[in-house]
């Protein structure tokens, strides 16, 4: 096994998963960091610039690359839109805000293979005709990596054609939301904005802006070198390539693994009987473990279950924990992470979280007999009524819990809980150090 990835914010050490056939592509072999330029150049060679705006886009389209930040939007379409609207004045931003507390994959990538991300940023800037490039990195990850050094070295050696500005992101759940990122990179607070206009039309400083997750940029750097057919050799025809996943096993261990899309979930997680799996993070969904063991790592298979891969967070709930209590703790965290800008989210999420805490037996109060009706009504009242998707994602997560843990809900309504341990499993920070920490 490879060296541990230390991280001040992590409860448990994160180690890269070992190789499987043909993998990893993004992470260095055996998890040995490739964060110095010579190692990177020795493995992948120089940046394969194409010598003009838009020239890389057909390859990205043929490869079928989609955004790895969670939305899985086709990358070539964003590139095309920004290249067309930008007229050479566009802005390109690599997104490593990684506000999801259960995700560590962007952090792992920037520690272990930062030059792939930086190559991808240059190539995306060329393809989109960008006049400005920025890397938006969660503050603590920025402090723990050597990005400034890498960027200075790359510019001095002529590898980078456009200077990259690093913009620290606050460690908030919504900091990486596209319109929040645009606001922050433009010098404002990292708060979601009311759209339209979409950021590819009017983003940072009013310019067309391409926002790509850093993992997407790393894939782009490999597609530019090895081509779309190579990229499609892993994954499924509908969802080609590999993706980074943060795997949280029932024993509490956390690893960042690169897996081919289409890998059976059972080969990534130890799925004990009678538990559940969280797929897609805190805006994702719970799935019963018995069901998950027959599923693959694809949106095609997850979508009918109301789930999606998101940014690749997979967590196997230990058999001795209460899924309802876990959900209630995360719901409280999500309510605290509301930007508080939109009335329904500001009012609805705390009520939902409090009712769930009562139901889970965390609130020190007996749940109201009407708690399920209240939860259902409030969920309907917040859904689709925010400037961003925070209420929608939160509701998706909570509804999945009430569905998957329905037997547990009935027990709790009678004042019982089947859990043998009350030790929290999913990371749910109690809250930021200051309430107004959005910069």
């Amino acid at each position: 096994m490879s060296p541990a990835l230390p991280g001040p914010t992590m409860a448990s050490p994160v180690t890269p998963a070992p190789d499987t056939a043909g993998l990893p592509r993004l992470l260095p072999p055996a998890g040995k960091p490739a964060d110095d330029l010579a190692t990177h150049l020795g493995r992948h060679g120089p940046v394969p610039y194409r010598g003009g705006v838009g020239r890389l886009i057909p390859d990205v389209r043929a490869a079928g690359l989609t955004g790895r930040g969670g939305a899985a939007f086709p990358t070539y379409r964003k590139l095309e839109a920004v290249a067309a609207a930008g007229q050479g004045r566009a802005v390109v931003v690599g997104n490593a805000a990684e506000g999801e507390p259960a995700s560590h994959k962007d952090e792992a990538l920037l520690r272990l293979a930062p030059h792939l991300v930086l190559d991808g940023l240059q190539l995306a800037a060329e393809a989109a005709g960008a006049a400005r490039a920025a890397l938006y990195v969660r503050r603590d990850v920025y402090a723990a990596t050597r990005l400034d050094r890498h960027l200075t070295q790359r510019l001095a050696s002529g590898l980078d054609r456009i200077a990259v500005e690093v913009v620290p992101a606050p460690p908030r759940f919504l900091a990486g939301e596209e319109s929040a990122l645009v606001s922050r990179v433009g010098g404002g607070a990292a708060l979601p904005q009311f759209t339209p206009p979409r950021v590819f039309e009017r983003g940072v400083d009013g310019r067309p802006t391409l926002v790509q997750n850093v993992e997407t940029l790393a894939h782009l750097a490999l597609i530019a070198r090895y081509g779309p057919d190579w990229f499609r050799a892993a994954g499924t025809p509908e969802e080609p390539g590999t993706m980074l996943c943060t795997l949280r096993q029932a024993d509490g261990s956390v690893t960042v693994a690169e897996a081919a899309i289409g890998t059976p979930l059972a080969s990534l997680l130890d799925l004990g009987p009678g538990t559940a799996v969280l797929v897609g993070g805190y805006h994702g969904a719970w799935i019963p473990a018995a069901h998950a063991s027959g599923l693959w790592l694809t949106n095609t298979m997850l979508r009918p279950l109301g789930a999606f891969l998101g940014a690749g967070v997979l967590a196997a709930l230990p058999a001795d924990r209460c899924g309802l209590a876990e959900t209630a703790r995360v719901a409280r965290y999500l309510a605290l992470e509301s930007a508080g800008q939109c009335g329904p989210c500001l009012n609805g999420l705390p009520r939902i979280a409090a009712a769930l805490a009562d139901l889970a037996g965390l609130g020190g109060r007996r749940p109201d007999p009407r708690v399920l009706a209240d939860l259902s009504r409030w969920a309907g009242l917040v859904e689709g009524r925010g400037a961003c998707h925070h209420p929608d994602g939160t509701v998706r997560f909570i509804r999945s819990a009430l569905r998957v843990f329905a037997p547990e809900v009935r027990q709790h309504q009678q004042g019982r809980c089947s859990a043998r341990s009350s030790v929290p499993f999913l990371p749910a920070p109690a809250g930021p150090s200051t309430d107004a920490d959005w910069s």
């Binding site: 009311f194 800008q341 939109c342 009335g343 329904p344 009242l381 009524r385 925010g386």
Partner: protein
């Protein structure tokens, strides 16, 4: 032209005036924020809808052409 009412939820501060002016299409949720009917504004309500837009104290309501 068919149009839909759309609220900017960041700008909206829940004055509730819109629901008084256009109860046919706008109700208030239990916290006082507008819930807008999921339908285009019918021609017979066009005048009231425009009034609701111009009178919103937070300028949070707009009429947008339907997609």
């Amino acid at each position: 032209m068919m149009a839909r009412l759309r609220v900017n939820p960041i700008a909206c501060s829940g004055h509730g005036l819109c629901a008084e002016l256009l109860p046919e299409l706008i109700t208030l949720d239990e916290w006082g924020y507008p819930v807008i009917a999921d339908q285009p504004v019918p021609a017979r309500l066009g005048k009231q809808a425009r009034r609701a837009v111009t009178d919103c104290p937070a300028l949070a309501l707009r009429l947008a052409a339907t997609r």
